[in-house]
């Protein structure tokens, strides 16, 4: 069924946006900084997962062996993305911690462009293609069919988001992250190592983005050095829509944006005289960003638009 398919497509792409958006919102919450290199962290995760899958057999993988292979790919991708984020934080952001807010932003854009080009160069500018190991079928009742891969994406992301919420709410590390986000100086005076907590925040956000890279690769197999740019900006939009700095906001914003691009676009197309093919997704997403910034800059869940200013 057409509308059901659109709904599932929206949730699938939305779950990728949500996972990436969490990285933006976590880092913003703690540093009030937009980490524009985060899309590239996602891209690096996709590549790391790709190489793992190739190394363990590539297209020859089949049957039950794909499960450990995918888990390993996600794990290594999370590790690779986290490592990259830690290095980026150390060399490009930490020295600018007390600089005007524009400085780390520009530094982030510089890192983003550099990483895109390094990977493009290393891959000779050609796309790499994920091994097609995931079963292509679907399940459901009659017209209501969900692709296995889409179900996998949605379920995996939702599980990770649930784990993240528990992590933030229930663990010492999550508490430290919230304390540092609320008041860095006071947190440090209560015995929290602020630098380490900031690093941990980057690690968490990057791990989610790395896993998102693998998930997207399993779904849309072509990967390249510039693949992080658009999802990065879209996820940033999702974080803003949800309320930047808010963790539930990034989750809701991601799914909301995914659904807007698909179901929303088709709904608009249903108006007589309007025809918005798939390419209009980006126009719709970024129009939404503009609208939110104009009419509700704090997003769905945001209250504090500027704690520091």
């Amino acid at each position: 069924m057409f509308w059901f398919d659109q709904l599932i497509n929206g949730l699938t792409i939305g779950s990728v946006y949500a996972l990436i958006a969490l990285g933006y919102t976590l880092v913003y919450g703690i540093l009030q900084m937009i980490n524009f290199a985060h899309g590239e962290v996602f891209m690096l995760g996709a590549f790391a997962g790709y190489f793992v899958l190739l190394a363990v057999g590539g297209d020859d993988l089949g049957g039950a062996t794909i499960i450990p292979a995918i888990v390993l790919a996600m794990f290594v991708a999370a590790l690779a993305s986290s490592s990259a984020a830690v290095v980026i934080e150390r060399i490009a952001y930490r020295p600018l911690r007390n600089a005007p807010r524009l400085a780390p932003l520009i530094s982030a854009i510089g890192v983003s462009v550099a990483l895109q080009n390094i990977v493009l160069r290393m891959t000779g500018g050609r796309d790499r293609v994920y091994p097609r190991i995931f079963p292509g079928g679907s399940f459901g009742f009659g017209d209501f069919q969900v692709g296995y891969i889409q179900a996998f994406l949605i379920v995996a992301s939702v599980l990770m988001m649930a784990a993240l919420l528990v992590f933030i709410q229930r663990t010492r590390t999550g508490r430290a992250m919230r304390a540092v986000a609320e008041n860095r100086a006071t947190a440090s005076l209560m015995g929290i190592d602020v630098d380490r907590t900031i690093v941990t925040t980057f690690v968490v956000g990057a791990a989610l983005a790395g896993v998102a890279g693998v998930l997207q690769g399993l779904w849309i197999p072509n990967i390249r050095g510039t693949m992080g740019f658009l999802p990065g900006i879209k996820a940033f939009t999702a974080a803003v829509v949800g309320g930047i700095g808010s963790v539930p906001g990034a989750m809701v914003g991601g799914f909301f944006l995914g659904l807007t691009e698909t179901v929303g676009r088709e709904l608009l197309s249903a108006i007589p005289g309007v025809h918005l093919p798939n390419e209009w997704s980006d126009v719709i997403a970024f129009s939404l960003l503009v609208l939110v910034l104009v009419f509700r800059p704090t997003g769905i869940f945001g209250e504090r638009v500027s704690r520091r200013a």
Binding site: V86, T173, A176, T186, A187, I192, V203
Partner: protein, 318 residues
Amino acid sequence: MATSPAEPTLRDEAATAMTRLRTRSLTMRFEGLVALDAVDLEVRPGAIHGLIGPNGAGKTTLFNVVTGYHRPTSGTIELDGRRIDGLLRHEIAEAGVSRTFQNIRLFGAMNVIENVLVGRHSKIAVAGVELAGRMRPHSDHRALAAVRALPSAPRAMLHGLLEVAGAIAQPPRVRQTERAAIEHCAELLQFVGLVGREHELANNLSYGDQRRLELARALATDPALLLLDEPTAGMNPAESASVVRLVRRIRDELGVTVLLIEHAMSVVMGVCERITVLDYGRKIAEGTPAEIQGNAAVIEAYLGTSAAQGGGRAAPRA
């Protein structure tokens, strides 16, 4: 009293002969302004020591320098004979210095018990080799030595990953220390008189209760020295009296040494055994409450400023 955190008492035994806090020629300059001018201060273990002086005398600056919020321009700070100037803020907190703030600084979006747990942060285990290395700094296990030898970036990454992995996997040791921390923090809440309020948002507490919560949070770090910045500010006499009782119990029952800034002279004179007076960043007097009340320099400093401000504040009563 059920609450009797063990560490402060142990520290006391080890350090009875020593001075809890000692500053030597402590100086803090901010672009032309000398906020602290060669201050020598000694706080004895187990004391309730008052720090008074007119507005702008440098009292809060002294707290900020001792806790590492500012690096001193010159001079030294020792806690139980160990230099702590130059340490990072969280290291000074771990060394045993904790504080409250003149303008309350709770984590308003967190609930009451979470605020106290933040103070307990460094007492809860994280999984992993690095942490084990931190808790047993002299262990010569090869893995620990290897981790310690790592450059700081990979070590930070390893630690970040372990911290996340440990938080997700929740090995027994992590869970056990977290549970112990929650129990300890609940006891501290009982100690300051905030029973049954664990799950209220800190921002929703009354002003007086927020001050009590700040005390519980500061105590959660197991301090050897507690710095209280105007703990009775903005309180009515009844509330103020109950805070004074609490400060005494913090010293008597928990064995924590207290250094407090206070404007209400009745409080200072009533609770402190020794008092140091600052004026324009300089120490102008030190002694027992009786000595301070009769000190000519102190009276002049107070009368001078209070006259300039229209006599709004009381001079120490003779």
